[in-house]
């Protein structure tokens, strides 16, 4: 049963992500991404990580996708994107090479086999409880730092998308730059210097 579920999820996730990466339509790509995320949370549930699965659903499908859809509307990207993708061979060759490399690394014997677990889930606790226990003791500091990080992200988002950025104080719009003649001179002096 788990074997079937794994292969089912794995195939579907792979296909959906391929759609995300290859599709020319933003909407398709985004929908495929969202669906892939949902299915990944399925994998998490299979791996006894119920809490993580829930977080995945809430954060990705809830928050991230909502953000992306807003962005999509803002950028008016609801149509096919024209991309000059250039040399597809290089890209797929590189992707393939790195995939092979990772697979080789992962299928190599793991020397940590039989090492005692450092943070086993507490006895008799459900997964969210066990996670909570570790998260709020050992990992309280990263948790707080993550909170700071989210604050940073919020401030950044507000500033960058804010109206105040529309008008820059760092440049005066009528930029006075040197005319092309001086640039030519520059090149000439450079050549002379090269001698």
């Amino acid at each position: 049963m788990t074997t079937f579920a794994f292969y089912f999820f794995a195939t579907l996730i792979t296909l959906l992500f391929l759609v995300t990466v290859l599709s020319r339509n933003v909407l398709y790509a985004m929908t495929a991404l969202a669906a892939g995320m949902v299915l990944i949370s399925g994998l998490f549930f299979m791996l006894d990580a119920a809490f993580l699965g829930a977080v995945q659903l809430v954060v990705y499908v809830g928050a991230v996708m909502a953000l992306y859809s807003f962005a999509m509307m803002f950028f008016d990207a609801n149509k096919d994107i024209k991309e000059r993708n250039g040399s597809a061979v290089t890209v797929f060759l590189l992707g393939g090479a790195i995939a092979v490399m990772l697979v080789v690394i992962f299928t190599a014997p793991l020397i940590g086999q039989g090492v005692a677990s450092l943070y086993p889930p507490a006895e008799g606790a459900t997964n969210p409880q066990a996670v909570g226990l570790v998260l709020f003791t050992k990992y309280l500091v990263p948790f707080e730092v993550a909170a700071v990080m989210l604050l940073v992200a919020m401030i950044s988002g507000i500033i960058l998308a804010g109206k105040k950025m529309d008008f820059s104080l760092s440049v005066v719009e009528a930029t006075k730059s040197i005319d092309s003649k001086t640039i030519d001179n520059m090149d000439n002096t450079e050549k002379k210097g090269d001698k």
């Binding site: 590189l94 090479a97 490399m101 001698k195």
Partner: protein
């Protein structure tokens, strides 16, 4: 004594800083006077120290512990012993004269104050170089004189670049950069040498390093000796790093006199003398021999180029090169004290020669072509006297124990070559001596004798200011009498340097050897006199007409000699100057630079500005890292 040492060392620095205060303001004679006075003080302090070293012994002070971290201890101290005090006296004396001279020479230059600031800064660096008691201090002084030399060669940086045909050194800033870059290449060798010594002996102090030398393996000794000599080659402009020296003549003439004749260029010789315990080791015998051979080669190589040169300052520059070759020959043959003696004597008469040339330039509105001069002896009596004396000293004129400075010092080197039974070097050095005499007097005669070839121009030459001429007199006196101190000097420095005595047989026939040299020198002078005393007809193609005139005026030299020897020789001189020098050596240096540049241009193309390309490069980098990791793994397996 310690105070005197600091006075000698720091007065030039004070002078330099003082002049620097006025660097941007218009000419102020005070800067010249103050810096000269401070140098005079420095000279007096050095002289007293000299006396002290002679009567009491060396002075060694440690100013401070410079770096002290973990096992690295580099105290920064100064050592005034027989070698350094000789250098100090020579440097400060010549500098004082050159400073006073410059007050007159730079009279009309708008950057008068800046010039004195640089010049005094140079003297300070030179003092650090000679007085340091360790290799690091020496290196700092070494770099310091390099920077000052760069600033001074490029002093008239505003001059435009011109093509090589018009001016072989293109422009002052070009020449300055060439000198600096060539020296940096050599400095690299020196730095490596210092590192080798430090890492094998654990110290940079001369005494500690030299004491540890016998424990080192042969390979390390040879490597250190070679690396240090590479440094010396750059500073002393030995083949193939010699091209910068003649181009450095773009600088003001006092600079040429002080830096590119008397002091800085001899730093390489000084280094070899300083490191004599290293070069005297048995293991590095062949390196020393190589040094001697290279020195001899440079001596004749430079002299041959001087034969056909028309540029007043370049002739003297070639002559400097040639004399440096002599010094290296002596040092390489183990006669360190003779090298040091020649260094000192040469400093006096070569500085005098340059300053005289400066007078001529000043009189001739910066004209340097000796073919356009002539007959100046009437209007420039003193300069004529000085330059004549200096040329006599350079040619080594004298007989039976009486003679000018060069007679004693240069002959001693030639005698050394004979004593070492190295007859090839001996013959080359003797021939060079003859050539030296010839080109020196060719220059003197073309400049001062004959008809006034400048008559149709607007130039009205006149001699230099009186005080300048008086200031030059100490050098003139020393050029005449320095040689008489030879025996006494030998006694003084051989306390520290290995004594070098001629063998019995050499001693017996020394007078014959001396006579041979004199014969060559006199022969050279006479030849020059005959060819050039009556002036120069300049209406024909020069090279050929010279040969032609020789043929028609043949006094001693048979026709055969001209056809077989003189013409090919002139051709060879031209060839060595034009092809060997400019095409091969310069082209190699340029070529390396261009290669790096082209490499940069090509690599730069991957920086396209396109984010996608950057990301792809990152991915390529991952693959690259995997490959490199695999190779590294194989390497580490192979090593085990």
């Amino acid at each position: 004594m310690e105070n005197l040492l600091y006075i000698a060392l720091f007065s030039p620095l004070v002078g330099s800083l003082f002049a620097a205060l006025f660097a941007m303001s218009p000419k102020n004679i005070i800067t010249g006077i103050v810096t000269s006075a401070l140098l005079l003080i420095s000279f007096i302090a050095s002289a007293i120290l000299f006396e002290h070293v002679m009567t009491v012994g060396a002075v060694h002070v440690t100013m401070m512990d410079w770096i002290m971290a973990g096992d690295m201890l580099i105290p920064f101290g100064f050592l005034v012993d027989q070698i350094s005090v000789t250098m100090m006296v020579v440097v400060t004396l010549v500098s004082t004269v050159v400073h006073i001279y410059s007050i007159g020479y730079m009279d009309h230059d708008k950057s008068f104050n800046r010039f004195f600031s640089y010049l005094s800064a140079f003297v300070f660096s030179m003092m650090v170089l000679v007085m340091s008691d360790n290799f690091l201090g020496l290196f700092i002084g070494w770099e310091g004189v390099g920077v000052c030399s760069w600033l001074l060669i490029g002093f008239w940086y505003h001059k435009e670049d011109v093509s090589r045909d018009v001016n072989p050194s293109i422009s002052p800033s070009w020449a300055a950069n060439e000198a600096f870059i060539m020296n940096r290449i050599a400095d690299l060798g020196m730095l490596i040498g210092i590192f080798i010594l430090y890492w094998n002996t654990g110290s940079l102090q001369y005494d500690v390093v030299f004491a540890a030398l016998p424990n080192l393996s042969d390979g390390i000794l040879v490597a250190a000796a070679i690396a240090l000599f590479v440094g010396a080659m750059g500073k002393s402009a030995q083949f193939p790093l010699h091209t910068w020296l003649t181009d450095a003549m773009e600088g003001p003439t006092p600079v040429s006199a002080l830096i590119h004749a008397a002091t800085m260029v001899t730093a390489g010789v000084f280094l070899i003398i300083r490191a004599n315990p290293l070069y005297a080791m048995e293991a590095v015998e062949w390196v020393s021999y190589f040094i001697a051979s290279l020195g001899t080669f440079v001596a004749i190589f430079a002299a041959s180029m001087a034969l056909v040169c028309r540029d007043l300052k370049r002739i003297i520059a070639f002559s400097t090169l040639s004399q440096l070759g002599y010094m290296f020959a002596a040092a390489g043959l183990g006669a360190y004290w003779i090298a040091l003696f020649h260094l000192a004597a040469h400093a006096f008469f070569k500085a005098l020669l340059f300053l005289g040339a400066g007078n001529v330039m000043h009189a001739m509105n910066d004209e340097l072509d000796i073919f356009k001069m002539g007959g100046l002896k009437k209007v420039m009596r003193w300069t004529y006297l000085y330059m004549g004396l200096a040329s006599l000293a350079l040619s080594g004129i004298g007989i039976a124990g009486v003679g000018l400075a060069g007679y004693f010092s240069k002959d001693a080197i030639i005698e050394t070559a004979f004593n070492e039974q190295n007859y090839i070097l001996w013959i080359i050095l003797i021939v060079t001596a003859g050539m030296t005499a010839f080109y020196s007097f060719r220059q003197v005669f073309l400049t001062f004798h004959g008809s006034k070839r400048y008559a149709d121009t607007e130039i009205h030459p006149h001699d230099m200011y009186k005080y300048v001429l008086i200031a030059m007199s100490p050098l003139a006196i020393l050029a005449v009498i320095a040689g008489f101190f030879k025996g006494w000097f030998e006694e003084f420095v051989t306390v520290l340097l290995p004594a070098y005595k001629m063998s019995e047989e050499t001693h017996h026939i020394a007078w014959i050897l001396g006579l041979v040299v004199i014969a060559f020198a006199v022969g050279g002078i006479v030849l020059a006199y005959i060819k050039y005393n009556k002036g120069l007809k300049r209406n024909e193609e020069l090279e050929n007409s010279l040969v032609y005139r020789l043929l028609s005026n043949q006094y001693y030299i048979p026709q055969l000699y001209d056809k077989i020897f003189s013409k090919p020789y002139a051709a060879f001189s031209r060839f060595s100057w034009l092809t060997l020098d400019q095409k091969i050596v310069d082209a190699t240096v340029d070529g390396i630079g261009n290669m790096i540049k082209t490499g940069g241009d090509n690599t730069r193309k991957i920086q396209t500005g396109n984010l996608s390309d950057y990301l792809r490069w990152m991915a390529r980098g991952v693959v690259l890292l995997v490959i490199v990791a695999f190779i590294s793994h194989q390497l580490s397996q192979g090593a085990n």
